[in-house]
């Protein structure tokens, strides 16, 4: 079984193509990081996998089922970049995490003991069990991010998809985050995450996919951090020079462009 299979995917926003012929496979139990600069199309790639952005060309399969026919969304836990801007009304940590359980228990059924236990366990996993009854607005940004991962874990997913989970998160929360993901992987979970920089998540990563200008630029081990440009024999493929893309230098394409299978 392949958990995620993307074949020759192309995505366009308002006529402008932002992803061109992208292919990607994620196997069970793997931890795959999608890296790239801002605007490279890495977030678009996972949003397309999740069905939030329509596919222009190509195909996507989730758990060996074409995305259009896929109904097992409770098997996927999505962790967005930030807590939604919504929320004129207070909500407790427990209420937000419980909404991640909804896909699994169904919207017509009241929560059972197993559902409540899953919510508690998810909060335990992210180290926020004692904040169950607190309004989410009183938590720090890093803690809110951990609430979002707990919400995804409450549905007991097989695949976690995270969009820049550690962006702007304090060091303590980043470490807690890495520990949570490690536990999830040890229990057999598959992880696909988008990141700008890996930080404490790096030891977890099995495979890196670098997205560069809407194409897959590099697939394999975590690229060497800055400095490898200076190495002799480094195949320097750097079509850009824009200052806002300077971050990509750390993950510059090494020339071994992935060819379509």
């Amino acid at each position: 079984m392949t958990v995620v299979r993307v074949r020759h995917a192309a995505v366009a926003y308002a006529g402008r193509e932002v992803l061109h012929d992208v292919s990607l496979e994620v196997e069970p139990g793997e931890v795959v990081a999608i890296l790239g600069a801002n605007g490279s199309g890495k977030s678009t790639l996972i949003r397309t996998v999740l069905g939030l952005v329509p596919l222009d060309r190509g195909e996507i399969e989730l758990f060996d089922t074409p995305q259009r026919a896929f109904r097992g969304w409770e098997r996927i836990g999505y962790v967005p970049q930030r807590m939604g801007a919504a929320g004129g009304v207070p909500a407790t940590v427990g209420e937000v995490v419980a909404s991640g359980r909804l896909a699994r228990r169904g919207i017509f059924k009241p929560p059972r003991a197993a559902d409540r236990a899953a919510v508690r366990a998810a909060l335990q996993d992210v180290g926020l069990a004692d904040r169950f009854g607190d309004p989410v607005a009183t938590l720090s940004g890093g803690q809110q991010q951990r609430v979002l991962i707990a919400r995804a874990l409450a549905g007991q997913p097989d695949l976690l998809i995270l969009d820049e989970p550690t962006a702007g998160v304090d060091a303590a929360s980043q470490d807690a985050f890495a520990a949570t993901l490690a536990t999830f992987q040890r229990r057999g979970g598959t992880i696909l995450l988008v990141a700008h920089e890996l930080g404490p998540l790096e030891p977890l990563i099995d495979r890196c996919v670098v997205v560069h200008h809407g194409r897959i630029g590099h697939v394999g081990a975590v690229p060497e951090p800055a400095g490898h440009h200076a190495e002799p024999g480094h195949d320097h493929v750097h079509p850009h020079a824009a200052p806002e893309q300077a971050g990509i230098c750390e993950w510059a394409p090494t020339g071994e462009r992935m060819t379509a299978p």
């Binding site: 939030l52 919504a86 938590l139 549905g155």
Partner: protein, 292 residues
Amino acid sequence: MALFEYEFMLRALAGALIIGLAAPALGIYLVQRRLSLIGDGIGHVALTGVGVGLLLHHSPVVTAVIVAAVGAVGVELVRQRGRTSGDLALALLFYGGIAGGVVLVGLSDDSSNANLMQYLFGSLITTSRQDVIVIAVLGVLVLVAMLAFRPALFAISNDEEYARVSGLPVRTLNLLMAVTTAVTVTIAMRTVGLLLVSALMVVPVAAAQQVTRGFRATMSAAMLIGVGAAAAGVAVSAEIDTAPGATIVILALAVFVVLTIGNVIGRTLKPGRRKPAEAEPPEHRIAVPWPE
């Protein structure tokens, strides 16, 4: 109270109590999505329905429900498209609604100003037995839907994108919200009037969230405040001879002011409690109909 020995007062009270419960139960989801003013817009559209009803010598409540529901579904479709011009499209719809209503009421046989005022500002006292039955049936339906689907509606209001990824029937639930909003607006038309409808959906929620910490608690408190303001508003308005709808809204606003002041005082007196200063800087809290 001697007041409630009159049957028309009992009918007025029954209608107000149902709206007092149902409007905040629905309004909390609108406030959560920063759509606090949507009820007002649908109210404008409903006026066209009233005009159609009067023109066709049909029950204005029924035609208003239909026209408002069509309008609300239209609004929801514009919102789903996420078009930047959506804001303007809504403005056109809303003002078209109220202008159409005023013109149609003027064309009808019963075109007195008093008739128009009755729909704009409510007319609880002239509520007929049939009206109360319609209000009761529709109000209970709205209430049941809002309570039964609370977890799902909360999930969608809290993070619509996440709800879509979870595989929740987001589109269907959004249409359910649109139709129930239209129904609530129309049945509340008799109590508080189309121009004050939104207040009963939003003000009790705003008041409740001054003192609550969670969504469920806010919902319960808002319904309590709504039903309390409705009951007290009917009694007070009869006593001092004011418009019941406006009196209900003023009382709900008074609760909001009292709870807000109490909240501020309570926080200054208890410095040990976690202050919001430690919290994340709140997202901007202005309720605009269509943020995206």
